[in-house]
Every structure is written in structure tokens, then in C-alpha cells.
Symmetry: C2
Subunit: 356 residues, 2 copies
Amino acid sequence: MAATIRDIAKEAGVSVATVSRLINKSGYVGARTAARVQDAIERLGFRSNAIGRSLSTAKTRTFGVIVPALSNPVFAEAVSGVTACARKAGYHVMITATNYDSAEELATVGTFMEQRVDAMILTVANAGKSPALDLLDTAALPYVLIYNEPPCTGRPAVTIDNAAAGAKVAEVLQDLGHRRMAMISGRFAESDRASARRDGFLAGAHSAGLAMPSVREVDFIALNVDAVLKDLFDDPPTAPTALFCSNDLLAISVIGALDRMGLPVPQNVSVIGFDGIAIGTHLHPTLATVIQPSREMGEVAAQHLLHRLAGEKATPPCRLPFTLRLGESAGPAGNARPADLQDPANPREGDSHYDR
Amino acid sequence: MAATIRDIAKEAGVSVATVSRLINKSGYVGARTAARVQDAIERLGFRSNAIGRSLSTAKTRTFGVIVPALSNPVFAEAVSGVTACARKAGYHVMITATNYDSAEELATVGTFMEQRVDAMILTVANAGKSPALDLLDTAALPYVLIYNEPPCTGRPAVTIDNAAAGAKVAEVLQDLGHRRMAMISGRFAESDRASARRDGFLAGAHSAGLAMPSVREVDFIALNVDAVLKDLFDDPPTAPTALFCSNDLLAISVIGALDRMGLPVPQNVSVIGFDGIAIGTHLHPTLATVIQPSREMGEVAAQHLLHRLAGEKATPPCRLPFTLRLGESAGPAGNARPADLQDPANPREGDSHYDR
DNA sequence: GTGAAAGCGCTAACAC
DNA sequence: GTGTTAGCGCTTTCAC
């Protein structure tokens, strides 16, 4: 069927070793021989078989990538960074989505190990308690987390400071005059990063001297935010004037639901999301959010692994800077309840002030 | 290092053939032996090496997927369908993005061939004239296109009837009272589907007795729509009242640009996109668009290949139905120029009418 | 500068 | 039911 290295050797009247040396540019091969071999390769349309090579070298030049979902642009963007980076280095990328299911995480890590991927890039539900990562650790397979917020255990991760970002959100909302805030999040059990954002948010609200924000969990997949919102805004005088959502997709749903409830954003309620997905700026109102450098996170993770696999003492993955974008969905509290507004001079747009 | 089938055989006191039979559930193996082997497998933490298996079977149980970009939700959604379907069948997915570059298409097909993927799922710039597909054809490697609009050449594709969809758009706009339309598209050379949409659109406008819509190309990557729009709306009396954009991302940019030009949508101009990306319904105005069943397209493509690889005479990939969603971005022409409106009774929302 | 040969981990006849 | 053995296509010492 397809030509093998042996066919080429025969065709060119050389040994397989020579052919191998040529296609890998390893070892010397005379100019005349090289030409003959090259010719044979073209004549037979030969493509070296990566499987044979991998079996021999015990390397596949392949990364395994595991994300919760590809339909969430924030992950698609990171994967995009990974594939671009990998491709440039001659690496391939295998990918799976786990649907936020930690059993799937473990299963996928298992099958990727059987595929003998050289390293993995992944986002798990909880980096502190993860059978999938335990497996990776005991197998000593190189990997780096993205988005995750691993506890001090020191698992390598390219991420942002989620807690600081959460605190920043509280600070900004308080600057806008908000005094009663709440957070709506996907299940914390399924997201260490959402937990970190919450912790930072609560700490930020506390140090600003505000009442403890109410925190509500929703099923992120089903996205049934209506019930939670009804409950939250049941008693107008104590209802929050600002909502922090643990991710952009959730924030978008919340804004829509509030609108249908007769609580338009930002006139009646301010909403800030998290992730910084691209379409956020095209929404109306434009989405206020914490921007994670997703593509860059994917690139940095891939780059780190490339270095590591090359035997270089790679710099440990670090925290990347985030940016708070104050879109139209977060306005001064005064819009709804002028009495609460402390800083009426605060302009409606404050992006540049908070960008960094 | 990692345990091999031979280690297990020795540990369990059996031959490698028996171990192989057990892990592949091929051939018989006695209950007692099976237990001993199973035990050894667990004790040594054995994971069979897919590379060795692939070399032996000449099958990798891997699909290669090539799309223009993962950051465009329409493709991410299809890939999501592919991975889900593949995973269920024990297949893996390798992925790359070509950035709408046909040289990249060819290069990626080449490397995927070296990786010996069993089949490929891809979207190319032009399915009629594609070195990448030529290569696939001569290599007789199974593949199916998604999104592409292959000419009669009979290249297998899971897609929608782009021309019919384009015609439908013209028909709907004319129903809304629009008499002067235009189309804005990415480079046709980079998208056979955009070309088909244009052809259908023009034919539809023609058979409705309307003036030939003006058609403008923009660089989809750079997304520099401003110049094109300025030109298009230079002379108000002859300016179009409705714009058909070749995809949703482009439509979203166009709506934003029009807004900045003082031509709000849909009050002054109607805009219809193409793709049906999920966030479209959360935009304001909600995006009128032609919905492609992206996830399903990915699933159907994968399913088809699974059948084919299983040796079954797979049903040839077919056209899937599309749906026109008349979101708020497309309104009656009367909004801007009551004189043009022929059917004032036409309700603002007409979704159900056009859904199918 | 080039060749011979021993594997890499697995599967699949075929033999018993 | 289980074992023997010959590859699958490649890389890589080690000779020459």
C-alpha cells in the first residue's frame, strides 16, 4: 500500500538507515545519495509513518488537551492558542471535552496515556482534588493546567489570580456606588476558579465595609437562572443592585433573564461577568467583565511544555495579568437608587481607569 | 518504565497472546486465567500502548479534524459534535486550524496522513479546487467535508443548501418590504459556501423582480467593514435598506459599525447573518440569521466515517435542513422608508413562520 | 558516509 | 483455551 522506508531504500539502492538519516536530518548523508533518495521519495509519494517512529522513539510529538467544553468560547480560544503553538513546533493536538464531568476527566487522561501523548494541557473541575491529576502525577506525565486555581500543592498552572480578580470586581462595584451585591455562579464543586473568584469577591466586599454579598449557585449546563433571580429580587428594598457572575455565558443569560423580569441592565441592576469572551463587546449593553488572556494562556502552556520536553529547565508556569473591562452592563448604582450613590460624578464609562 | 504486555504475561504466567486476547476481548480466555491476568494488569498499572497496537493493526482509531478557526463558534460547535461522537466510539480527535489559508490545509492534510489518522473531517476554502482534497482523493483516505459546498464532483460533505438559504434570505427580506439589498461577504475565493450563498441570494432577488443587489467583499480576518459601509451608504436615496452578511461574526461587526455611523439596526437598515451561532439570540438587537445545525453536522460527519470504517456501506452524507431565524436585526423596510413598505400588516416577529 | 541488525509494544495467524 | 512467532515501520547503536 503506502510506501515504507524500505521501499525507498530499495528504490534508491541504499539502506534504510540512510533514508532515515535523511528524513530526520540526523547524521551525515552524501549529496549524491541524498539526491537519489529524495528522488525516490517523491517518485513513490512516500510519507514517513509517524506510528513507526513513535514506537521506536517512545515519543509521539502530540499533546492531549482536555477542556470542559469547546462550545464555550473561552476554552475554544485557549485551544486555539495551543494548536497554533504546537503546530509551529511540529506537534499535534488531541482534544476532548469533559462536559464539566470529573469522571470524564479521569477517563480521558487514561485514554490519552494509552495514546502515549507526550504531555497534557487541561482544565479540571477541582485542581486540589482530582483523580485525573493524581494519575498524571503518579505517572509523572508532564502537564500544565489552564484556568484552574490549584491550591498550594504546586501543580503547574497557567492562570490568572482569580481571587484578586474577584476582589477587584467588588472594589469596582463599590466605587460605582453599589452597596448590596450578590454573586451567581456555576456549581463551586465543579469549578475551583469560581470558588476563588467568590472568595476574592467576598473578601473585597468585606474590606470595603459592605454587607456580605449573597451567593447563589446555578446549574451552569441547564442555565436555569430564573428561579434564582426571582428569589434574589423578591424583596426590592433588600435586593442587590449589582450582580457578579462567575463567567460570561452565565452573565449573558442573567442579563437576558433580568430584562424579561422588567429589571433592565444596567438601569436597575449592574452585571459583571468573567472571562472576557470576544463577543462581549458586541452585546448591548456591552458586557462588563474580567478579561482572561485565553489565547495567550493556551500558548504559554504549550510553550512551557515544549521547553520541558526539550529538556530545558522551563520557567515554572506563572500567573498572567487579567484586565477588568467596565462595559455598559455595569453602571453606577445611582441609576436605580440615587440615594445610594456616593460618587455621582463617576462617569458612565470608566474602562481606561481599570484597564491595566 | 511503563509495563508492557510482556511484563503482564510474565507476571501472570501466561503468554502475550492471552493478554492481548483479554484486553481486546478477542478470542476466548479461561475465567481463571482471565482473573490472573486482570490482577497482574492492575498490580502493574498496565495501560496498553496504542502506538504498538496501531503499528500492528494499521489503524489508529483517530480522526483528523481541520477547520478554518476554532475561535469562530460555528466551527467550535461542529468540532464539539465530532469529539463527542468520536469519544463514544472509542475514537480520538486530532485538530488544527488553518486560518482560512489553503496552503495550511494542504500541509495539515499531509501531516495528518503521516500520523496515519483513519479519516478526516474538514472545511476547506474551496472544495472544488483544493490541493488538500486532491491529495486525500489520490491517497483514497476517507474524509467528509463540513460546511463546504462542493461542486458536482461528488466530494462527500455534510452541509446545508447554501444557495437555497441565500435565496430564502432574499425572499424574506422582500417580504419585509425591502427593495434595495446588498451583500457583504468575506473573500469568495476563501469560501465556496459564501459564493453559494451569494448566488442564491442574487437569484432570489432576481426572481422577486428586485434590482441586482450590490455585493461587497471584505477581509474577514481584519474585519475592516467601515470603508465598505461608508461607500455603500454614501448616497442615501440609493442605499440598501437591507444587508445580507455571509456569516454571523461579520454581521455582528457590521451592526456595530452601522450603529457608529448613525444608522441603527433595524431602524435604518436590516441585517441578516449566517451560521446561527448561539450568542446571536442574546445580542441586542437579536441577530436574524440562517441557522446551520453545526453540532449535528459534526456528529453526522463523524458517524458517517465510523460506519465507513466499520466496513458498512454508509449512507452518503447529505444536506441537513437549515432554519431562518428572523431576529430583531431584520425588520420591515417601512421603519426607515414607509413608502417602500408593501405589507404593513407584517408583524415584527415572524420566527415561527420561517422556522422549519 | 553508509549498512546490518536489534529492537520499540502490539496483533494475528497458526499450532497444539 | 493457550502458546509461538513473525511481522507492523521506524530509529539507532555499532561496524566498516
